[in-house]
């Protein structure tokens, strides 16, 4: 058993090592500041894709978070045991388990086919659909941890229900809610499959979101499959950047959660 365990751990460490070793060579200043050069021409960078990924993730978070949080409020505060809530919980689990490529295809049928062209909007919507169930579930969990006494005190002071929820319950659960959003952001910022048929990719700076939009993950896919050594190296650089970004957000969310344990109402 111990050798099996060590084998598993060793291989995982090996993956991280290769990403760091091969990726760091590609991370020159130009990588962060320049757009790609045509294939075969040395130099250039992936600044456009870095910006694109940040923009897509930000828009997706902006769309997905409010919907997910409010839906979580309904499950935790209003419909707790209603039939609708049971159905929503069950469906949320199903949506979380739906392969992300299916969500990409759904958004393609919804927003790309009718319009006739790929767009950053479609990509952001696909990512938002992945965010919603994640945020919904953590919101419900975090709100249901808040003791009822807090709600009752707010209501006894004459606060209407919506103020009690937004002003008191949310404040008590704030760090938990932030953690949920961070986890969702970490998850979508590394997604590739939902962007393949929606945002697609582009070798140019994103000027509007209403056209194919450059992003890091699809760039990794395109560059890795290309025959150019220079592009493959850039794919490794992008891989390292995405990994560091995702792990950073992951560590950040854990840090937020740890701090909650020390400063929250529970102590």
């Amino acid at each position: 058993m111990v050798p099996a365990a060590l084998l598993g751990i060793a291989v995982l460490a090996w993956i991280l090592w290769e990403v760091i070793a091969r990726g760091s060579a590609a991370l020159t200043p130009a990588f962060f500041t320049q757009a790609p050069t045509p294939p075969g021409v040395e130099g250039g960078g992936l600044a456009n894709a870095i910006v694109g990924t940040l923009v897509l993730t930000a828009i997706a978070t902006g769309i997905g978070t409010p919907i997910g949080v409010l839906a979580g409020v309904f499950l935790a505060e209003f419909g707790t045991k209603s039939r609708i809530a049971t159905a929503v919980r069950f469906t949320t689990n199903l949506l979380m388990g739906t392969p992300s490529i299916i969500i990409g295809i759904f958004v393609y049928a919804l927003l790309v086919l009718p319009v006739g062209h790929f767009s950053g909007w479609a990509g952001a919507v696909a990512l938002a659909i992945i965010i919603i169930p994640v945020v919904l579930r953590t919101t419900e969990d975090m709100l249901s941890l808040v003791p009822d006494e807090l709600r009752e005190s707010a209501l006894a002071l004459g606060a209407p229900r919506w103020r009690a929820t937004l002003g008191v319950v949310f404040r008590a659960a704030k760090t938990g809610l932030v953690t949920g959003v961070l986890l969702a952001v970490a998850r979508v910022s590394g997604e590739t499959a939902p962007l393949l048929f929606t945002a697609l990719n582009s070798y140019y700076w994103p000027e509007t979101i209403n056209e194919p939009t450059a992003n890091l993950t699809v760039t990794i896919f395109n560059y890795a499959m290309s025959p150019y050594a220079d592009w493959q190296e850039k794919a490794w650089g992008a891989s390292l950047l995405i990994t560091v970004g995702v792990l950073f957000v992951g560590v950040l969310s854990r840090f937020v959660l740890d701090r909650r344990k020390k400063t929250s109402w529970q102590t």
Binding site: L16, G97, W162, V246
Partner: protein, 314 residues
């Protein structure tokens, strides 16, 4: 300044509006699921009308002659997932038990944290590693040895190409490994120490206590974790697409190139120019969606039944 009654009425209205707003947001989830099903069905109509049920059983995939069938993709999806689970489940249970029961607490905390982070690493990273690092290792060292020792089995025959069904299954295994391990570890950590201590008290060895007490106590959580890992492997796209070789051919050998539903979609969706080609890909997506739905619902009821049985026992 409005009097109390008026203020009360407007606040009542605000409360109702807030409630309706949150309810509407929660219904978005149901609308999305229904929308996915509807769009997949609507866009599959042409292919289903042309091929009917034959679509599921035919392994033809010839865009030039407008012949399409899902068999090779479904086969590849199931085989690669099976390889992944056969390896990942025992390995992740071993890692989790090692971390909880054997390893020094400080080491366990460090490695456990690292594994949780690895569970968050995007699948495309596993794809990169699989294509540029692991496929070479497979081609030079693993496949030749397997072919030499086990070459009498059709499973391990053929030239070592590095990429192929076996490589895809192994990469999938690595991808779900941290995921199942992290959940199993959490489950094992929740086993009350007094239970384990009593097992040791009656003379059970570490292995007996783990198998008879810890794994038994946490079996519902572990089964849930395995199901989640299975669901992920089934629909995983990028980790597989990089290394499976993308061939619509069913081969007896695991060394041969193959495909999965997700990898076919990733590779061909943007190339499909004919309506029937695109519709066939939508139908493939519908099959994958159906597979994951059926599997998830079955898992849900299985875990619920285990829970009922456990509470019945007590």
């Amino acid at each position: 300044m409005p009097n109390a009654a008026v203020r009360g009425a407007s606040e009542h209205r605000a409360d109702r509006a807030f409630r309706v707003l949150t309810a509407a947001c929660s219904l978005v989830v149901i609308a999305l699921m229904a929308g996915i099903l509807f769009e997949l069905l609507a866009n599959s109509r042409e292919a289903l009308g042309t091929f009917g049920w034959r679509f599921l059983t035919s392994d033809a995939w010839n865009p030039g002659r407008a012949e399409f069938g899902a068999a090779s993709s479904v086969y590849g999806t199931l085989v690669s997932t099976a390889i992944a689970m056969l390896l990942a489940v025992p390995l992740s249970l071993a890692v989790a038990v090692y971390l909880v029961e054997v390893a020094h607490p400080r080491l366990a905390k460090f490695v456990g944290g690292a594994i949780e982070l690895l569970a968050a690493v995007p699948s495309i990273i596993y794809g990169m590693w699989g294509l540029f690092v692991f496929a070479t290792l497979m081609q030079r060292h693993i496949q030749p040895v397997l072919g030499e020792r086990l070459g009498f089995l059709p499973l391990f025959q053929g030239p070592p190409m590095g990429i192929g069904m076996l490589t895809a299954g192994l990469i999938l295994a690595l991808m779900v490994l941290p995921f199942i391990t992290a959940v199993t570890r959490d489950v094992l950590l929740m086993v009350p120490p007094v239970l384990k201590e009593s097992a040791h008290g009656v003379g059970a060895t570490m292995w007996e206590a783990t198998r008879g007490v810890s794994l038994r106590y946490g079996r519902r959580g572990i089964v849930g974790a395995v199901f989640l890992g299975f669901g992920r492997a089934l629909g995983e796209t990028m980790a597989v697409t990089f290394v499976i070789g993308n061939s619509h051919r069913i081969s007896a050998s695991l060394f041969a190139a193959g495909n999965t539903i997700a990898s076919s979609l990733a590779n061909e969706f943007n190339e499909a120019s004919e309506p029937i080609y695109l519709s066939s890909l939508f139908t493939l997506a519908l099959v994958l969606f159906g597979l994951t739905l059926v599997f998830q619902i079955a898992a849900h009821f299985w875990v619920a039944r285990m829970q009922r049985q456990e509470t019945g026992d007590r």
